[in-house]
Symmetry: C2
């Protein structure tokens, strides 16, 4: 179980294509995983995800712990059964949400005391608790409990790493199920020395895969890409690499050529709910009056259900009327856009044309020095 096979590696860049075997099937890499925060990818049925070619879904430990509760999910047969998704699932550790979503929190060496963003109830998360919750949920890939610090405060990041590393070791110890791949999460902000220290510490613990956390949280794209470039040569070739919370098209392309195998982000479904459609080079904001009489689809070259059947004018109408179908159609399009991009990148790696493909694709975007990193936090 959890065999990771590399099928092709690009000589020029660090891009690689492979497959990762899990108890719920094979994940072709590189891959983008849509986020099903509360055991549902917002506005999508599992059947729709299959139609789109989704092969991995992420769900959030923090949210499911609070509602409906991980023990209930376990009693009902685990997360796959509960949400009706029989393919591979990845759960995060709850760390990111405890630090970004919950109300007042207190960190100590042992864990984090936090208040639910839903009802204000108080909870204490430790590494052991995070693993217990993730074992109850039963995803194929699970994560170590970590702290996601502000990326540019050296002293704080350094201090935080001590906790995150101790917690990673405790998660490794706490794991009791052998049908879940526990990934370690590399932290270290935007500081090469700390990132390298973090990677080497986790490599010593010998995890079956490595995640890169704490990026796409406000640092510049240059800073983010520098961390990926550094870690490319440190992380072991033979283990899958997962860049957490990254989901703009240009970041996926840049991530892939830096050797990343797995990505996830709420961006495509969150943008959809704000009326924005992802297209090569940027986004169409369908709230804009310029689309009021536009009989074209979002993208004439796109084959998704939305682009095959509906005009920008109709989509704009749905967005302005706040109709659920608007969320459904834009989520469908945005997910199709990223999944299609990943499929094309994988094909290009297998055909040894990924450098040309990436160069052509990135021509449509501003150079990294001109743009800030955008992730979950920065969506309008």
């Amino acid at each position: 179980m959890f065999e990771f096979e590399l099928l092709a590696e690009d000589g020029q860049s660090g891009a690689r294509a492979g497959r990762f075997l899990t108890p719920h099937g094979e994940i072709p890499t590189p891959i983008f995983a849509p986020v099903g925060t509360s055991a549902t990818v917002k506005a999508m049925r599992p059947a729709d995800l299959l139609d789109l070619g989704v092969r991995l879904v992420l769900s959030n430990t923090y949210h499911l712990f609070l509602r409906p509760g991980d023990e209930l999910v376990r009693e009902l047969g685990g997360l796959h059964q509960f949400m009706g998704w029989q393919g591979p699932i990845l759960t995060d550790s709850g760390g990111f949400q405890v630090f970004s979503l919950s109300k007042t929190r207190e960190i100590d060496a042992d864990g984090v005391l936090f208040q639910s963003h839903i009802d204000g109830s108080r909870h204490y998360f430790t590494p052991e608790k995070s693993i217990q919750v993730q074992e109850n949920l039963g995803a194929d890939i699970i994560m170590t409990f970590d702290e996601c610090p502000p990326p540019d405060d050296f002293n704080y990041v350094q201090e935080s790493l001590v906790r995150t590393h101790a917690w990673a070791a405790r998660c490794r110890e706490a794991q009791t199920r052998d049908d879940q791949a526990l990934f370690g999460i590399v932290q270290g902000g935007i500081f090469p020395s700390l990132r390298e220290e973090s990677a080497r510490f986790l490599i010593d613990l010998d995890f079956p895969g490595y995640a890169i956390g704490g990026l796409s949280v406000g640092e510049s794209k240059i800073e983010m890409y520098a961390m990926l470039d550094l870690l490319k040569s440190i992380l072991p070739i033979e283990k899958p690499r997962y860049l957490m919370g990254v989901g703009t098209a240009e970041d996926l392309v840049n991530g892939v050529i830096q050797g990343i195998d797995i990505f996830d982000c709420v961006l495509p479904t969150r943008l959809a709910r704000h009326g924005a459609a992802m297209v090569k080079g940027g986004r169409l904001n369908l709230n804009n009056a310029q689309f009021a009489q536009d009989s074209n689809p979002i993208d004439t070259s796109c084959h998704c259900y939305a682009c095959s059947h509906f005009s920008r004018a109709y989509l704009r109408h749905l967005v302005l009327a706040n109709e659920i179908l608007g969320h459904i159609l834009l989520s469908t399009h945005n997910l199709h856009f990223l999944i299609n991009l990943m499929n094309e990148l994988r094909e290009a790696i297998l055909n040894d044309t990924v450098s040309e493909y990436s160069r052509d694709f990135l021509k449509h975007y501003p150079k990294p020095e001109d743009s800030l990193s955008v992730g979950q936090q920065t969506v309008a």
Copy 2:
């Protein structure tokens, strides 16, 4: 065009099965039409409606006139093209919404001045305007502009009928397209004399179909059924009969055995958005704690997508988390429930077993004298 063919009539009751030909295909009757208020059946893609066996969709003239505007819809190829639904469409006249949804309104003999519920803008609807808007939208079946009065105020209903009848004649005159079937709407509240007068007036105008309006607005079920019983013997056998805004299971069954051919209602999709699932004999309110650990589907005998894949516990989780997928799945189930009921009723009429079928079905419901009519207005 608009041929209405009766295939079977039940000797005991007034139930009948037939088919009504429209420019966008054949409508098998009796039929239930889901409501796509703003050119979308809420939470449903057109492909999903086809999968459910939907053969007629209703859309609202008042809403589309206000947003996105009927002229825009015409410029974009008409409502079928705009909303991506190539099957038959029925539009109401705007009358009901002008009286129930809009803010301040002033009625005179010529029409109604009203304020938009969206932005407070002022508009004047006349019979001619309603027809013009409906011709721009381009539905297969359109309606005369009527007033929907409080059903139990004899003097007001009598006075209102004068307007409604004059408006019906003006709508007949105003119609310029011959590819739309204009139905007259029988009003008259709960008063047999007024209902009969209204039906006879409209029959003289020789419409290709007749709607029964102003019911399911607060009167008792006994009163509603009495009006249907009366009109059964007055309305011409050879024209389709449409009971507006009625959509509880028991009302559909009672309507069918009183000779109704077409029904529409927001009830199944509105209940869905409130977390309620329609089942034989009533509703399951999935907000209730009793379903928290319930691994059964809504209905073990139901073959809809929701019942084939998900537990009540999962659906309850989606409802409590206000997830769009909850709206999608419950709308799917509720529409399937009513469409399946109509299919079974039609089969029973064709097999000459509709009396037994109806009797068995209605055993699961309280007798009419114990219950108030419930329609669009009374949903929790």
